[in-house]
Symmetry: C2
Subunit: 229 residues, 2 copies
């Protein structure tokens, strides 16, 4: 196998001045979790050892094992934290269009595209993690499966709220689209298939949502978007 993780020589925050005011120096556990997040995401779960995480976090293995029972538990905790951040992002992305599910979906995907298309992006933490955790009993797997199930159910719910004829099918299709973008991001640099996700969503919404011009409770400007001309 190759060298995997470069040294990643970081300054290691270590002890921060905290005698004077309200600068609560980050506890070891938080530093470790933060470091684990970035290293796991960048290099993968198996490629990163606890020793590397600990020293990168400015501490050592012994302190690591005072905070976490095992590496597997750290992985599970890492995934739980990623989940919280994910739903915070999700909610923020759809919040501006509360009440208009169609626009919420469009905004969600627009946001998703620009985020996943970014330079440092390595796709979805959960999708990547599940590839490395084939064992059915790993503590991280339950987190992953719960996360993906929640994603699916949210997309289905939004599809229903948007007035889709077959909300479950639309929701699942949107899920495939998202997952596909995440995965394809790893094999293409910036001009990958991900770039059409926005168009694809609008096409699917058009196809699934009946075009009732004056529908009750429906937003005024629900424009049709034909796929090219």
């Amino acid at each position: 196998m190759k060298s995997t993780t470069p040294p990643e020589t970081g300054p290691a925050p270590g002890v921060a001045a905290h005698g004077g005011g309200a600068a609560p120096k980050p506890r070891v556990r938080d530093r470790i979790l933060d470091t684990a997040r970035s290293m796991f995401y960048r290099y993968g779960l198996r490629a990163v050892g606890v020793d590397a995480i600990a020293s990168e976090a400015g501490t050592n293995k012994m302190s690591f094992y005072r905070c976490f029972d095992s590496k597997d538990e750290l992985i599970a905790e890492y995934l739980r934290e990623q989940g919280q951040a994910y739903w915070a992002w999700w909610d923020a992305a759809i919040a501006p269009h509360a009440g208009d599910a169609r626009r919420q979906l469009e905004a969600l995907f627009d946001n998703y595209m620009s985020l996943t298309g970014k330079d440092g992006s390595r796709g979805c933490s959960f999708g990547n993690a599940v590839v490395e955790l084939p064992e059915g009993d790993h503590p991280g797997r339950r987190v992953i499966e719960a996360h993906k199930a929640e994603m699916r159910s949210r997309l289905r719910r939004l599809s229903a709220e948007a007035g889709a004829r077959d909300a479950e099918a639309l929701g699942d299709t949107l899920m495939l689209l998202m997952e596909g973008g995440y995965l394809s991001r790893l094999s293409f640099q910036s001009q990958g298939p991900l770039t059409v996700a926005g168009k694809a969503v609008r096409t699917l919404l058009d196809a699934h949502i009946p075009a009732l011009a004056a529908d009750a409770a429906a937003p005024a400007r629900r424009r049709r978007t034909a796929p090219a001309g």
Copy 2:
């Protein structure tokens, strides 16, 4: 980390009777490659060591290194072999409908769904591999990127042949769909979003292909498929 690969106690073919006739006993290299294929796919690239592969193939590490320069080279070779098998499958799936690109796409996805939905399926070898190979210079990465680029180009070509208004967008959307099915397969058992891929493809084809009733060279029965009622 957990135990990763179970012992997988296999009988190890070893020496096959070959003195009499035309039974060319499988060479070590082939046995190794075959074992690597199943173990890499099942457990992942990093989870499987060369020692485990060799002994599972009924040989040993020394013979392994007589056939392959390194584990990384074996990985690349594994991916090349998977690529050959993949295109053979692909061509066989679309062959029955030569000349009718729309039906070819439908057949491709139907075939893909039943295959990826199978019990032992762990999604896409290439997608899984790229998750474990973040290093840009790994010999396997070129194979993966070439494979995915080829996939994309084939889907775009089929979309064009099917008469799509925006063939590149349709092709890329279909690519997202496929990739999404592969990835989501890992987080859902059998009733995952993958099950709607067939419907989704037909919806997208309907949306992208102009409905010319009597088009030259167009197949007679190109039925519209409305997404539910």
